[in-house]
Structures are given as structure tokens and as C-alpha cells.
Symmetry: C2
Subunit: 449 residues, 2 copies
């Protein structure tokens, strides 16, 4: 039996062409960043974002619009000051890394020791590091698939504890980002339970250049670091859920996910306002079709992706055995797009259907991909339960210029590019929700992240 | 009699080709922004910059290296906070304008009224503005010659007093800059003596977009403004002067100027580190020639261009009648280049020589220009005394992306482009310093700026 009828495929093609004519996705992002703005987990902005999402899904005609309470960490950035000491004391553009402790009130003043990589730091003698500020000066590589990020993000995540175990008093890293504009990249860092806790900062690329030039010219470079970062007790946030109900297989679910929280420095237009807009708009366009899909399309706007995925974990916990009725899950969390490749993790016997799906997107210029996709951070808990994932890979060439910086604003959102992504997600979701048969199940694995 | 001998022209060509092979100009900027960094008039950075310049000119072999004391205003930016009030309170990226007073300690909170232009504000009724925050939302146009700046910089300079005369409590303008990165542009504002003094701010272009979207969507938009800006008593700074002595007409001077001070937000790499590097390096390359020019080349690194030109005025005051021995003056203060046009203000009978000069630069792709050039801000006092000016026009297409922002860093300096500018300035200075006869004199005019 065929995966799809000719009518299904014709509807998918019409949906795609409709999206390419112009969608409301840009308007969704614009509204979110204008009415709400930054929305760090647990902040007033996060609360406002939940209200915004409830309102918007309701107004757009989603059904079953509801929240799902999620406990989230509550970290406060406070103020950050990094000063290159010298005859005049040059302020450097820096960000305290997410989760970092602050400094004592008077700050930390110490000599700087530079390392090219985390491995070089790991190999250092404690004598070279003790009582110093460790500076990891590794530049992220710009690639279309964003793979440069995964290669060096460990500097941000693990650097502080590796440095602290060698006796360092603080960590400063070159931003894990590709831009030469003067923006520092934040993002989550984590402390080893066994290491002393020291504060951790990133410098913008131009400021890392300045510091490194000073280190190379002068062995006695000193920095003064001040941060009032601190952790408050956990707060409540919520996943926001809305559905486009299926017809005769309404209890089977195609999940479209994105995250509602953002970092505090920028507006979260690309991370992940764009993802929110893509999945909301893809579902909305499907809801306007005359030929409704037989399965239900569920949009889940996850709480707290950035600070430990507690929204995604809570969603997976609350669905219980319902995970068996999640036929396929997709997430959008790499900016505006365009979608350039279709990765998956589905049963091998479904790969023929995936290829037909890709063909249905044909004018969008999307390559076939691998069947080893993770599907994205928020889908981790579902995937570990065995839910197959489709991973439309978005072009990330420019994403890491603004990702996790103050510069993540609407000015970086190109409406036409966003429409292409909406088209791809809409076609994929529609075809997943009309397909005869499912995409198999994955072998369950423990979720440990 | 010919303006130049064949040997002069051959030397100029060799000088040009030497510069194009690679100069030390990038190294000069790098050293200035790394060793000193920001250098607002009267600040510790400004003092360090004077020391840096004395050292560098000395080490490069300039003669008569000296300072000339200059009294400069001492404005302190302090901290700036602009918050778009709403359910979550969105921080906007803003800069307090140079010279602005601060706000009361608790800040200013008021409704926003938006105007498209300063003219629209001038035409407003006091009733529409009274007790409100005026927002002038005019976008600077990107042009090669930077003319978009001159068209709207009055918003920054005059906006506060126009608004205050109508009863406004503060002024907020869209940055006078072309970038869509999230940087606010500072620059000097001035108060009318007869208007009440109100604080004045700029928003980055993306933040002006956010505010304007809110104003359009919601008539009750409110901002909270906080600034600890203040004025201290004037401080001493200095012009730094160094020379490449001429041979048989050493008492005649070709002046190469740039300014040593910068705004406090960025590193002053383009404004005016690049100009400093261009004129210093052009003179240095000339000093290395076997055929020395007969006139003296004098490099003047002016104090305090940004806050009222007190360095340029002091230089003109101290030379007294010596201005008659200033044969030609040139300034570099629009970034890295390349030089694309040769404007002048010289005696009409010298225009043939200027055209020959332009031909001597030929492979650099430089157009002929007008004979109505101002020559640049720091040359104003000299020009008003009658000194002819040569104005190599630098391509300013990208300059106003970073000008007066935190993003004015070495990352924006392209060494090859800078070398082209050095080549043009070096050829012009060399030919001016070897020319038979002078460039005439201009009619003296009062200097009022
Ligand atoms: Zn994300
Ligand atoms: Zn993120
Ligand atoms: Zn300037
Ligand atoms: Zn300047």
C-alpha cells in the first residue's frame, strides 16, 4: 500500500506553494520579541512569554491550548565587568556564563594565563595555573551545519571546573560564536561536583583578540573581573501546548517542538523565536487546509531548553505511555533557516517514505541526509522513549554570529528565508500526519543529559 | 616652470608602490587600541594615548617630537539604562549622548511620543510633547561619501533642546549610524543656552525598531531612563607633533593631521586610530626615501576632536603668523579607506598640479573631485586662516556601521585597504612637499564652530 494518496501529495504541494507566497511567521517572531523580549527561564519575561503563547495559539484557532507546569532553575546574571588592567584600564566586552557564580564584591584581580584549547589546559601543570585567571582562546569555525559549535562548546561547559581543579581563580573563554562584532556569547556552563566553583566569563571575539595581543606582547597581563551573578530558588514556568486535531486517527500525534525560553542578553529572535514561529505557522497553515490530516498535529513550546531541558523532561514524564502514540517528532531550534537537508532517525523501512517526503519539498532545494539524527535537544527525552524523529537541518552559517548574544534581534530575521522553513516543516508535518502506517519505533535508551 | 621634476614623480611612484607592498599602518592601529584602547578627551586613556604617541613618533625617527598643552572638557558617561516598560520590562541597547546631563537617581519614567524627523518635532504642539519622552525615529542612509550622516546628525546635536523647549523630559533618538547590529551610536550633543537641559540618549537601530513597533501597536508606551552622566572640570590633554624635516625649504610645512582622542565606548580603531596610522605611516615612509622632500612634513595628532576641537583651535592659536608657512594641510578622519576621490580647496591656478598629483596615484583608482572641500573638522581653524587643504575622500560605506559605537575595534581594520590609503596620503604629502611653488592661499574667514 502506498504511503500517501495522490490527493495527499497534491495537498502537500499546495501547502508548500502557499507557504512560499508568504506566511505570518515573521509576524509571530516580531510579536514575541516586541511584546515580550528576553525570556530567561524563571524570569518575568518567561512568564510573559507563556501568556503570549497561550494567547497566540488561542487566537490562531489551535485547540486544547494548555500549559504544563515545569520547575526551572532561576539564575540571575546581574552585572558583569571585565577590565584589562594597564595604564588606562580598558573595559572588555564580556558575558558571565549561564550558571556561573559571581565574584566577591571587590572583584577578582589576577594574572592571565592563556591556553589554546581545553585539552592544552587539561595538560597544564597546577603551578602554571594556580591563583591565575585561565583564558581559553579557541575560535569557533564557521560551517553551514554549525558543527564548529559542538567541537568547542566544551570550553564553555567544562572549562571552569578543569581550571578550578588546577587552582585557577576564574575562567575566561573566547566566545563560542563566529561573529567579529563586539558581542559576547553566553550559554550554560556546569560545575563538576568535585571541583571548587570559580566564576566563568566569555569575551567577544574582538575582545579575545585584544587580550591575546596583550598576552603575547606582555607577560604580566592582569584582568579585573566583577560579576553579581547568583542563583535563586527554582521557579515555575510552563510548556505551552496546542493542537490541530486529526480526523480519523486523532489519537496519533505528530509533534512539532520549539522552545519558548531564551537567553537574557538578546531578544531570542533566532533562538528560538524563529523556531516557535516556524512550528506554529506550519501547524496553522495545515489547520487552514480543506483536506485535514488524519493524525493530530501537536505544537509543544517547551519551557527551559537553555538551562537543562526541564520542560522537555517534564513533557516526556507527563505523557507516560502516550509516547507510543507519538508517530514522529520534529523540532526547530537553529534559527530562521533555510532548511537545507533532511536528517532522520526512523525505522529503516520508512526511509523510502522520507525520500518521497523530501521529493514533495523539491523546489525548496533540500538534500537527503543521514538516519542518525538526534532531532534536537528538546526531543531527547522522547527519542529515548523510542519516538522517531525527523530533523530538518537549517543552514547555520550565520546563526552562530548572533546565537546567545545581545545581537539576537528581529533585525536578523529574513521573512522570505523563514517562509522556506515554514514550507518544509509544513510539508513534513502534513505528510507525517497523513501517512499510511507509521515511521516505526526506535530502541529505547536511557536519557542522561 | 614644471611643478615637479621627473625624479620627483618617479620617487612618488616608487613611494606609492612601496606602500602597496605592505606598510606598518595596521601595526600602529593595533598598538594604539591594544596598549591604550578608548581615549575620551581628558580621561586616563587620553593621557595614555599622548604618551603612546610621543613614544611611537620618537621610535619611528620623527624629529621635534613634542606636545602642545590643550584644555579639554571632561565628560563622564557613567552608566546608562533604557528600559521599555511592559509586563516584563525589556532593556534596550542605548547610549547617553556625549555632553548630556544625567537623570535623577531614580531615573525618568514617562510616555513616549515618536517623531519622524527633527523638523516634525519642531512643528509639534507643546501639548503633544509636554512631560513626555521625545523619540526621533529617523534612519541614516548608507552612502559611499557618508553624506547620510550630515543630513541627520542634527537630531543628535540639537534634538534635546528642541524637545526641551516644547516641555519634553528627555530625548531618545535612533542612532545616527547605518548598522543593524545592536550597537548604539554616541557622539556630541549640545544644549541651547536658553533651553532647559534634559538628558539625551540614542538607541541602536534594532532597538529603535522595537520601540517604534511598540509605539505603533500601543499608544501607552513608556520608557524608564537612567544615566549617571556628568561633567567634571576641564582637564589637560595635548596635541602631539612630530616632523620629517625638509631639506632646503624646511621652514615650509605640509601638515598631516588626525585626532588622537576617541569616544569611550569603542576602541577608536577606525575613529581615529586609522587616521593616526595613515598619517604617521605616510610620513614615516617618506622619511625612509633617499630623495628627501625640500619642505617639512609635520604630523599633528590633535587632542579632543570629539568634544569641540580644542586641540585644533589651540594649534592654530599657537602657530600665530607661521600659518603663512603652512603650504598645504591634509587630515585623515573617516576610517580605513580606500581613498576614492581627491577633493581640494586650493587656489584655482593649482588645480593643474592637483590633477598631476592624482595621476601620480593612478593605479589606486581615485577620482578627481571638487575644489570646495572643507578638509575635515580639525583643519577648520587652519583653513579659516587661509591654509589650502587637500581632502582625500575615504570610502565611508561601512564607516558609519561602527563609528562612535562599542564596535569600533581592530576587527574592522583591513590592512590592505589601509595600505591603499597610506599610499595616497604619502604620494600627496611627498608631492606637496616637493612642488615648485605653493597652492596659493585661501581667503581668511572667521572660524565659528
Ligand atoms: Zn535554542
Ligand atoms: Zn540556545
Ligand atoms: Zn568621531
Ligand atoms: Zn573622528
Amino acid at each position: 500500500m502506498a504511503d500517501w494518496t495522490e490527493a495527499d501529495l497534491a495537498t502537500a504541494a499546495a501547502l508548500r506553494d502557499r507557504a512560499l507566497k508568504g506566511t505570518s511567521a515573521y509576524e509571530h517572531v516580531s510579536s514575541l520579541v516586541t511584546e515580550v523580549g528576553p525570556r530567561l527561564a524563571g524570569s518575568a519575561g518567561d512568564e510573559a512569554a507563556v501568556r503570549w503563547a497561550m494567547n497566540r495559539l488561542g487566537k490562531l484557532g489551535f485547540t486544547g491550548v494548555r500549559t504544563q507546569d515545569v520547575l526551572v532553575p532561576r539564575w540571575i546574571r546581574g552585572s558583569t565587568e571585565v577590565t584589562l588592567l594597564g595604564p588606562a584600564g580598558q573595559p572588555l566586552v564580556a558575558a558571565t556564563l549561564g550558571g556561573s557564580i559571581g565574584t566577591p564584591e571587590d572583584g577578582i584581580e589576577a594574572a592571565v594565563v592563556e591556553f589554546a584549547t581545553l585539552d592544552a589546559l587539561s595538560a597544564a601543570q597546577a603551578g602554571d595555573v594556580k591563583n591565575k585567571i585561565v583564558f581559553i582562546n579557541e575560535r569557533m569555525e564557521r560551517t553551514k551545519d554549525g558543527s564548529g559549535y559542538g567541537k568547542i562548546v566544551k570550553n564553555r561547559v567544562q572549562g571552569a571546573s578543569v581550571a578550578a581543579n588546577l587552582g585557577a581563580v576564574a575562567l575566561v573563554i573566547r566566545s563560542v560564536g563566529t561573529s567579529d562584532e563586539r558581542f559576547a556569547h553566553t550559554g550554560r556552563m556546569q560545575y563538576d561536583v568535585n571541583a571548587p566553583r570559580i566564576p566563568a566569563f566569555s569575551l567577544s571575539n574582538p575582545d579575545a583578540d585584544t587580550l591575546s595581543r596583550q598576552v603575547k606582547a606582555n607577560k604580566q597581563v592582569r584582568l579585573r573581573l566583577k560579576s553579581t551573578a547568583r542563583e535563586l530558588p527554582p521557579a515555575w514556568s510552563a510548556n505551552v501546548i496546542g493542537e490541530i486535531p486529526g480526523t480519523d486517527r486523532a489519537n496519533e500525534i505528530v509533534l512539532l517542538g520549539a522552545h519558548l525560553d531564551s537567553w537574557d542578553l538578546g531578544q531570542g529572535a533566532l533562538d528560538d523565536g524563529a523556531g516557535v514561529a516556524i512550528v506554529v505557522e506550519a501547524a496553522r497553515l495545515i489547520s487552514r487546509l480543506d483536506r485535514k490530516p488524519s493524525r493530530t498535529i501537536r505544537v509543544v513550546l517547551f519551557a527551559n531548553e537553555e538551562f537543562g531541558l526541564s520542560g522537555a523532561k517534564e513533557y516526556a514524564r507527563q505523557i507516560g505511555d502516550e509516547h507510543n502514540r507519538h508517530v514522529l517528532a520534529m523540532e526547530a531550534d537553529t534559527g530562521i533557516g533555510p532548511v537545507v537537508r533532511l536528517d532522520t532517525q526512523v525505522a529503516p523501512e520508512s526511509l523510502g517514505a522520507i525520500e518521497k517526503m523530501r521529493k514533495a519539498m523539491e523546489p525548496l532545494v533540500i538534500e537527503g541526509g543521514s538516519n542518525t539524527a538526534s532531532g534536537g535537544a528538546d526531543l531527547g527525552p522522547l527519542r529515548s522513549l523510542g519516538v522517531p524523529v525527523l530533523d530538518p537541518v537549517l543552514d547555520a552559517s550565520l546563526y552562530f554570529d548572533v546565537h546567545h548574544t545581545m545581537n539576537d534581534t528581529l533585525a536578523k530575521v529574513d521573512a522570505k528565508v523563514l517562509d522556506q522553513s515554514v514550507a518544509a516543516y509544513a510539508v513534513a508535518a502534513y505528510l507525517a500526519a497523513t501517512k499510511q502506517g507509521n515511521f516505526g519505533r526506535l530502541a529505547p535508551v536511557p536519557f542522561n543529559r
